[in-house]
Amino acid sequence: MSLKREIGFLLNGVETRATVPVDMSALAMLRDVLGLTGTKYACGEGECGACTVLVDGVSVCSCLQFAVDCEGRTVSTIEGVSREPLGAKLEQAFVDCGAVQCGFCTPGMVMQAKHFLEAHPHPTRDEIKRGIEGNLCRCTGYVKIVDAIEAASRGDR
């Protein structure tokens, strides 16, 4: 049995406590301890971006993040994305553009797009592609995903 620690952090704006093994990933904590299954497990080694969350406002692969290191920090997941205007706009843009095929990469894409657009409010399509280089879509539906991010950046409905 691994050593466990109780940690506290702000999860989607809500003070949250969790008891986690010290070698557990933030992804496992979100899904298996806290029951938030919107964040997806795919490659488990940082290659695909399906598990992207924001920690202190910065996008990271939650499969590589130690859960104990969330202590005292701010974690945002897909479940809370529509609480903020940019997140809500992105969510609607993904729907309007049909930027979802099987949907498995979508939560990670939306979270990465949110982080990207916060730093680059008016990107070119090439900059968008570079911004989501760490996110794979195995349906290869990239064109509509880029369309959606572009639409959200323009504020299209």
């Binding site: 990933s25 692969c61 590589l64 130690f66 104990v68 290191d69 760490g134």
Partner: protein, 287 residues
Amino acid sequence: MTVEHYWAPTTLPDALDHLRGGDVTILAGGTDLMPQSHAGRVTLKRGLLNVRRVPELHRVERAEGAVRIGALCTITELMRDPLVREHFGLLADACDHFASDQLRNAATIGGNVCNASPAGDTLVPLLALDAEVELASKPDGRVETRRVPLADFFTGPGRTARAPDELLCAIRLPLPPPGFVGRFFKFGTRPALDISAISIAIGGVRSGRALTHVRVAYGAVAPVPLRARRTEAALEGAPLDAAAIDRVAATARDEVRPIDDVRASAWYRKELVFNMTRRILGDVAQA
């Protein structure tokens, strides 16, 4: 072995106290430690020391004739840092080629150095920038530091000269000579998230048709990131005409010692080293 202790100290002396007994795994960004430990390639030791909350490890500052980069600086932070961009374009370039946004946001320069992968993206430019590492320990209740040139720090794939009770606190980069220009090149099968088949950093000061103060380093072509001294000697002061460029590139091809692996054969790596060294020097000659 299961983890029996977890510490997240907020000062350097406290962190060093925990390291004193050895048998401790150091956690910084975690981007390598997490997948390696879950895959069983790295076994977590009895103590897990999270150093991420030690603020003094997280600064970029001017030091006499040098810039001192705290070990906890992330790749994203380095890419954007004004001092790094102004003086160490080679390093900023390499950071731009590093993995993906999500990994650059978490991975630290200290972690990349301590992992000592022959293909580590920042290691090749750091070698070409004459980096030194600063190691701290607390053997008798007092913090002691020593500096080791990066070229002597790597002792094998994944192995370094860091003692078990030492923490890599910072990387020191001497300010390059005036007029220093550098080029970084990484070859992989796609731009993002790829481990180099080879990487190259070449720097020097343009002097007429030649380069002086030459530094050359290669990644993923030897058990450790390689500072290519013979190639440097061939390049130093040589007028950059086609014959000289070919001679330097051939020296580089002889100097590297790659292996066959999943990413490329040794033969292919040697050919890449020759062709890309030639191309970079050709570009420098035209510039």
